[in-house]
Symmetry: D2
Subunit: 309 residues, 4 copies
């Protein structure tokens, strides 16, 4: 029996309205603080390319930490197992920007989705590609490729604004450097990190981009291979255990899908073998994940019965 | 295409032999320290009751923390959402017996599978059933019921020995009591906890016992309901994110199944909608999980392609 | 030039009045919570036995952690350097009842004045004297001896009430036991600890009792030796660096005298070679030290110019 | 009775010889790692200017963290109480370069002698003097003034080398900046900090320089006022409680004098009202304090009976 996904999304859209003003838009940089609450979009993309959307699903927003899924995919492809000497795959039990665990654990970040881990990933990409410009270009091209959309780019205003308030991330990078786990210039690496976090995409674009991860690393529409089946499984596993910072366990418990959130209010999720999903609503809960986005995904899995468990 | 599970288990049995002497048997109590290394057993049970085994699959061992899956199931059934005020569902990022996070987070354990969380669960069961004897009887009857085997019981020598070395767990209980998150007498509650940890089962029995969790809370053979579909999903989710202490992320990454380990060397796992699995090998890795058991499950998912991701 | 200490105390008494209602009386047990704010007493005792007092200087109060100076003196005398294997002399940088550092540092408390350290001291005394009753009797006799007053005793109601709310301290003791740093029965040792904390003394009695520590370990009035000169110096040093929990540095900075506070609102201090001081006012600041007592000592050192620095 | 300080120093010199090769020279930068073990010097300076020395007392070494006493003195003079909003006076209970406590306590360092605290002090001086060059000049002039020696300067090779390995300190500065507790450019402030740490002085010069702190802030030889009596007392208090990183309690316990150590192997101490002392021996104990220097000071206080307690 095929489900009527459009009907389900429409229901969710109606039900979620009272929640849209709850929570707080990320306010540590002006460019994000200015995004009005009350907005919502959700898109589901199936294996055959059919997609279903509600809300402002063509409006681009700052994908922020969602970009970490893409850079991790690239680094895993380039470095394979040798990557594990620089970053783990374990939930941290700590806030996303904490230095505490990093100090206790000798500069090896717990996983690639906390800030320290993502900075190491960006650093590893720069080491491979030789400089920050080639690296950024390669990241952008990768995202364009998985989303089959050559228009994707980043917002330089957001990136610059992040850099101006980037002391915490710069501190993380220098701390890792003091432990020998950072190879390139801190300033330009952190800048590159902020640039890929400042990529803007709509839920339609993000949902499309995640399709390869729902189907074993191979884009079912273009046939392009972006990861091996084993890598795709593992990226999904890290999304499940570490995708929502220190609320990853709750998300797994209530939603039951591999997913990754960003402070721009976006969340991407996969139903392995079935579909990819993207949702957006800018107001965040206390853990820094989209409040309405999380609820919308919880409703979606409840209504459809879809879950990996 | 039906897989030849017996052949796969036989292959794993052969391949795993060189690993059986690696790691260290739990040595904090004599009763566990005496179990010889080099032993191995594995059982897979399907929806229709067919089961496949290798090694000493009828030999009982101390299930230890695996019992936490059963007491959590009972408590979730009894208390539903009100349980969350006493225990979370979040990975801890810390060793299983740590008091640090508990002090910082006001006596609310991160999840029901670290020691503090499991003690709270036992405490909640005693509060419900009125006393420690009824509680233990109810726990034993529940385990007998899910494994469809009236013979299951615990080893009082192991329980007593645990109690004699139980200061760390007693400290955890008193710390929670100081925060108002412990209701019953510490000594008898910890004793009850040690008794259910001292339940002995074989991989055949454990694999059978986990069948209901692989099939939405309903035992596919007896038709008995032990959890709602939603509860079963959530228990699987907590097993995935928190089932292997501070190596849960690695286990999810390499094995990709909801699973729970015990220091007796056992691990149980589910492939939701497909099967339940139990494995046993007493030597532990540095995180306190069965070394060969973890590797056997990794091989099993590699060979079968089974994974939730 | 001899200072007019009575005049100085009278001035302090007047000046301190507006501060007496500030802060919060210890409220974790009823017996302490019932003590009315607004009370104040201060006594200075000189080498020749002359003493100067203001306020309710003959009213007894619960000396609480001040008793740790006395048990530490006894244990240092009995065990000398071998005591250092069980407890350090280092400021903790953490709250007085924290388990965090104790877990990280393998059950060895930072110093004898945090709760864990004082429990180890009581445990060591019981190991030496053979049982809890002889130990308590010896502690009481020691305090009677240094204060030259056979009437000193403890309040059993306070001790019992502490025990009823003693889970945090019991947790500390069991945690140390799990690391092998606790020798006797936890319950009776913690009970003995609460009993010596429940000793009641007035500022006149306390000031008299501290005289030996101001004069190299020898009571200048009776000539009795309670510590070697080297031990007396060291006890003063630990009071200076660790006597006010996590506000010891501030106290040293603002007052500049070796001193020890208790949650009953008392503070004792020494001016080595010159005098001993006791002050009492039950309302506590956020660190658990007497608010007005701290200020009174600060004024005293400012007015007299006395300081060890 | 006047003590024969020369005789005492000569005795110490003989007795300390077997200890000179113990411990480890600071090795995180080549310039410090090259200093040979086995060297020792000690100088005592009295109120009237007489001084007594043994060993290589005219050989200059890198004063490192001892410079923090001088910058703290300057900042306390400039900012008085308003300084406390940016840095505390409490022992940290943590290693000197830890970021952990700084993160938990919102970027306010525990005291001016851990690295974070000293960086805030340098930052405050730059804010006052307008730029890094004037600040460095003022610091140098201050040190020249208190040591009555216009030749004192810093070693630019050491400063540059520190900067090349300065990631940990740069991380501390950026972390504080992220909490709003850092005002100037991180790079140039940390560079200025490394420059004043790279000041080179002999024990004769250092002992002379500390004289004002032993005599209430006023140099007894020149009559110049470098601190108020109250400030001098307080600086001595912070040296006592925080002067030896996470071994400050032990130092107070065994030596009993306000003192400050540096990783160059130097230690300065005061006997308030009596004398100032400097000692140097480059091999460090596990806490980063001079091994032989600490022992020499312990012997000095034992032999002379001098102590503040």
């Amino acid at each position: 029996m095929l489900m009527d996904y459009q009907k389900i999304l429409d229901e969710i859209y109606d039900e979620i309205q009272p929640e849209l003003m709850r929570g707080k838009v990320a306010d540590y940089i002006p460019a994000l603080a200015e995004v009005p609450k009350g907005q919502f979009a959700m898109t589901v993309t199936l294996e055959d390319g059919r997609s279903y959307s509600v809300g402002e699903s063509q409006k681009r927003f700052s994908i922020q930490s969602i970009s970490k899924v893409f850079t991790f995919t690239q680094a895993l492809h380039l470095y394979s197992k040798s990557l594990y000497s620089r970053v783990g795959v374990e939930p941290s039990g700590n806030p996303f920007n904490s230095l505490v665990q990093l100090e206790y654990e000798n500069g090896i970040p717990r996983n690639p989705f906390i800030n320290a881990g993502a900075l190491v990933i960006t650093d590893a990409l720069i080491s491979h590609y030789g400089d920050e410009y080639k690296t950024l270009e390669t990241i952008l091209n990768f995202v364009r490729s998985i989303s089959d959309n050559t228009e994707i780019t980043f917002d330089p205003v957001v990136a610059k604004s992040e850099m101006e308030h980037g002391d915490r991330n710069i501190a993380l990078a220098h701390l890792m450097k003091s432990f020998g786990n950072f190879e390139n210039d801190v300033h330009s690496t952190v800048m590159t990190y902020f640039k890929h976090c400042a990529i803007t995409m709509s839920t339609e674009e993000l949902s499309r981009a995640m399709l390869f991860l729902a189907f074993g690393g191979k884009d079912p529409l273009t046939g392009k291979l972006f990861a091996t089946p084993s890598q795709a499984k593992r990226i999904n596993a890290v999304m499940l255990t570490c995708g929502h910072y220190d609320a990853s366990g709750e998300f797994a418990y209530h939603v039951g899908l591999p997913a990754k959130s960003g402070v721009g209010g976006g969340i991407v999720a996969t139903v392995p073998g079935k579909m990819s999903i993207a949702v957006w609503s800018p107001a965040l809960n206390k853990y820094g994940n989209s409040h309405a986005g999380t609820l919308a995904l919880e409703r979606f899995t409840t209504k459809t019965g879809l879950s990996i468990f």
